[in-house]
Amino acid sequence: MSIQVKDYPESQTKSNYLWEDPPDEDKFSACVHCGMCLESCPTYLETGHEHQSPRGRVHLIKAVAQGRIELNAGFEDPIFTCLDCRACETACPSGVKVGSLIEQARGQIRKSIPLTGWKAAVSKFFLRGVFPHPHRLHTLGNLIKLYQKSGMQTLARGMGLLKMMPQHLQNMEAVMPEVKVPVRKKYPEVAPAEGRRKMRVALLTGCVMDVMFGDINEATIRVLVRNGYEVVIPRNQRCCGALHVHAGDRDEGKRLARQNIDAFLAAGVDKIVVNAAGCGCALKEYPELLHSDPEYGQKAVEFAGKIEDVAVFLMNHGYQKPQGTVRTRVTYHDACHLAHGQGVRREPRELLRDIPGVEMVEMPYADRCCGSAGIYNITNPDMAGKVLDEKMSYVPEDVELISMGNPGCMLQMAIGVRKHGRSAKVVHTIQLLDRAYQAEGESGK
């Protein structure tokens, strides 16, 4: 049989990944190029381009490792156009860890092709300058609050100043939630359990979450203590680093991971509860991020074993079914980093169904990405907008609430609701549960 073999064995060529922590060969060799992932990928569905599909991206990652193509802008584009939604990991028959490969490839690209211009400035300001520093985040939060409360927002909107911004940022400004007092400032380090203490847990308050969505953290604490859990809010915790790892800044991601491991392991808790899908997924993957760290590798494994999404935590360790009624029609959006990243689909739906008065309407393609994807909607507004439009076409017409478990998705879906002239409100699953508990008081129980 005459077979012309045109493959290029690694043994004969040199990898073009020149820095430490390159994409793992074991991970990309598991890909057998079957293409079962194609239809799960939002960017492939949008473009139809093989290199904008999971299979194509893994093929390129492998080609760089084999020294067949350079680590250049042509490689950078598909790797950074990936939403990191991981729908392909659910679809993949051989279990290729595409998300982790993409993150490792991004790390190599950022070392090789550092960002320049406004992207560099924005990235440095937020990823290195603000997110890792709680005080600066709170200051930024206060500035936004000042903007919202002082009349500046009304003035800016009235004068049409916002029209000078790109459309996607205008949309974001319009739906930005009112900044609340972060729970890290409002609550003591330990919130005692109501009644008999069942367990001591820590809460990841998150960086953006605590500033923009402090009320969700408050709802989470209320729900936990009501169910007999003592909640510790470790003061030394930091941003989880997911955004950094997604952006290719693995050094900063690792630094934050080490700090969080120290902060949470010192808290002496049984579990670490997370109410943001993206953060939960990132925390669970610390062992992978720090696998070559002699000091933290093992600690990361212990740490990751304690991480539970709040819905899963309540289901696993028990909670009281609410007696209060919340009469509403709800649909549920699977955050990618819950459904695909952590395999969590059932628990949040059960929580919602347990609330008296809630009528659940399933959304088709509920686990399709909304386009938020960390800061993707800021860095890739065009693609994010198209992915969002697709998502909105699946949201049932007659629902009053769209429930989900991730703040990034909440912001993006709120933009979608506004852009498409819909009336549904966006809510975190735990807020709805909290509302049902509150309603118990109202009905005099």
């Binding site: 049989m1 005459s2 077979i3 012309q4 073999v5 045109k6 493959d7 064995p9 690694e10 043994s11 060799s29 598991a30 890909c31 057998v32 190029h33 079957c34 293409g35 079962m36 992932c37 194609l38 239809e39 139809g48 381009h49 093989e50 290199h51 599909s53 299979r55 194509g56 093929h59 390129l60 080609a63 067949r68 193509i69 250049n72 042509g74 490689f75 659910t90 679809a91 993949c92 028959p93 051989s94 279990g95 290729v96």
Partner: protein, 474 residues
């Protein structure tokens, strides 16, 4: 370089600049399809959105004498959509609409890039489905299915793609647009039969009319475990022999089971099995239970270790996901695999499997067997590691040997995956030189300049044929 730029510009005039790929990094993803042994990037990839654009693109390439290849999702397993050098790929993924459903006449009209499973999903609400169900149906396109005459697990009872295609719109090698078929059993030659399975060497299909079927009233699925491949094979023959035509009758051997259990969709099959059968019967409710009873009886007579009927749709779906992802799941136990696609008379199964085992031992490469046992369509998965020097070539040789065994017992070298690049030479196992020539003459009627997917499907003319021809001219 100059000529390349001019070509790209002209293509872009037809389809728009965003719909032509030509940079090296963008082309490298198109260097192979699901058959990864051969790799060669195309000259360019173009994405027409309409039949008219396909026609314009083909006219341009025809005028410039540039060869071209139609491509769907690129899930094919024989290299049908892989370039050999210098071709332009015409990707049909932007033509992905369901154009029309005629409920009364039970047919659907789709564009070639429409994904197989989406058709079933689109008509499911009214109780219909599209029968051909290749395991890649989550991603593969109906245009690609037509090119390869794709089969699937349920083709035992319902037939392969050619049995479900009623009409086609084609763009010929010179860019002309024609329609064929449309009415069942039209007089004259069966052109649709010829086009279906022609692997993109005769025309580009731009619109397809297919049958849709009413969902069977009832279906039941059985999973049976065996500690000998021979017992399982006999059970297959016995089931057919007693007159049952199952909708599907699938088998996996020990290594295949190891693969699927290590993959993303494990069922939790007990360890140490030598073989399992997945059997499905469907039809009107009355009689299904009786068929199941008989199947269970046959399995017991053939020393089944454990046999169970799916309790609900969820369990059934889990068994099928496990089976349908069997090929790629091998990625979990081996860096690379090569899947073969032999067909044998069902009665020769135990004997053939024994020979496959011998080949495996001799070569030192593991072979997992997954097959549509009901219609004798074997899929030996040859596991190898392309990083080891010489192992890729060895795997290809082993594949060829397996096909020789199939041909020698009166079978064939492909059931549903097509010939492509992979099995060109093996065509000689089942066709004489004259028979091959007769077929290339038919090709020349449609594709006289060999621009459409050139040098695929048939072996290169052999030396002896050339010599004979030369002698004939003397």
């Amino acid at each position: 370089m100059q000529a390349q730029d001019a070509l790209i510009r002209e293509l872009a005039v037809i389809v728009g600049t965003g719909s032509v790929l030509y940079r090296e990094e963008d082309l490298i993803s198109y260097e192979c399809d699901g058959y990864v042994i051969h790799k060669q990037p195309p000259r360019a990839v173009v994405f027409p959105a309409t039949t008219e654009e396909v026609s314009q693109v083909v006219k341009l390439l025809h005028r410039r004498k540039i060869p071209f290849i139609p491509r769907g999702a690129g899930t094919g397993l024989s290299g049908g959509a892989a370039p050999l050098g210098g071709e332009v790929i015409i990707s049909l993924v932007k033509m992905k609409k369901l154009l029309h459903v005629d409920w009364e006449n039970r047919l659907a009209v789709v564009q070639p890039g429409f994904v197989n499973l989406k058709l079933t999903n689109s008509v499911a609400s009214k109780g219909y489905y599209y029968a051909p169900d290749p395991s890649s149906q989550y991603a593969c396109t109906i245009g690609g299915n037509v090119a390869e005459n794709a089969g699937g697990a349920h083709c035992l009872k319902y037939g392969v793609t050619t049995n479900h295609v009623l009409g086609m719109e084609l763009v010929l090698a010179n860019g002309e647009i024609v329609e064929i078929g449309g009415v069942p059993d039209a007089p004259g030659y069966d052109l649709m039969g010829l086009l279906t399975g022609s692997e993109g060497t005769l025309a580009i299909v731009t619109k397809i009319t297919v049958r849709i079927l009413k969902n069977p009233e009832d279906k039941k699925t059985v999973l049976a475990y065996f500690d000998s491949v021979e017992d399982a094979s006999h059970a297959v023959s016995d089931i057919i022999a007693i007159g049952i035509v199952p909708a599907a009758l699938e088998m996996m051997d020990k290594t295949a089971i190891e693969g699927v259990e290590a993959g993303n969709y494990p069922v939790g099959h007990p360890p140490g099995l030598q073989a399992l059968l997945l059997i499905e019967v469907d039809g009107i409710s009355a009689g299904i239970e009786d068929q199941i009873e008989e199947i269970l009886k046959v399995c017991k007579q053939r020393n089944v270790i454990q046999v169970k009927v799916a309790e609900n749709e969820q369990e059934r779906a889990q068994w099928w996901a496990n089976r349908k992802t069997a090929f790629p799941a091998m990625g979990a136990i081996s860096p690379d695999y090569l899947v073969q696609d032999g067909v044998i008379p069902r009665s020769r199964l135990p004997e053939v499997l024994e020979k496959v085992e011998e080949i495996s031992k001799r070569s030192g490469l593991r072979i997992a067997n997954v097959f549509h046992a009901g219609d004798g369509n074997l899929h030996p998965l040859i596991l190898f590691d392309a990083r080891k020097p010489g192992e890729t070539e060895l795997a290809a040789r082993v594949g060829s040997e397996v096909l020789k065994v199939c041909a020698d017992v009166g079978g064939s070298i492909t059931g549903e995956h097509g010939v492509g690049i992979e099995k060109q030479e093996e065509m000689r196992f089942i066709f004489t030189e004259e028979e091959i020539q007769a077929q290339t003459q038919i090709r020349s009627v449609f594709n006289p300049e060999n621009l459409l997917n050139p040098d695929k499907l048939f072996p290169k003319p052999s030396r002896c044929a050339e010599v004979r021809k030369a002698v004939g001219h003397l």
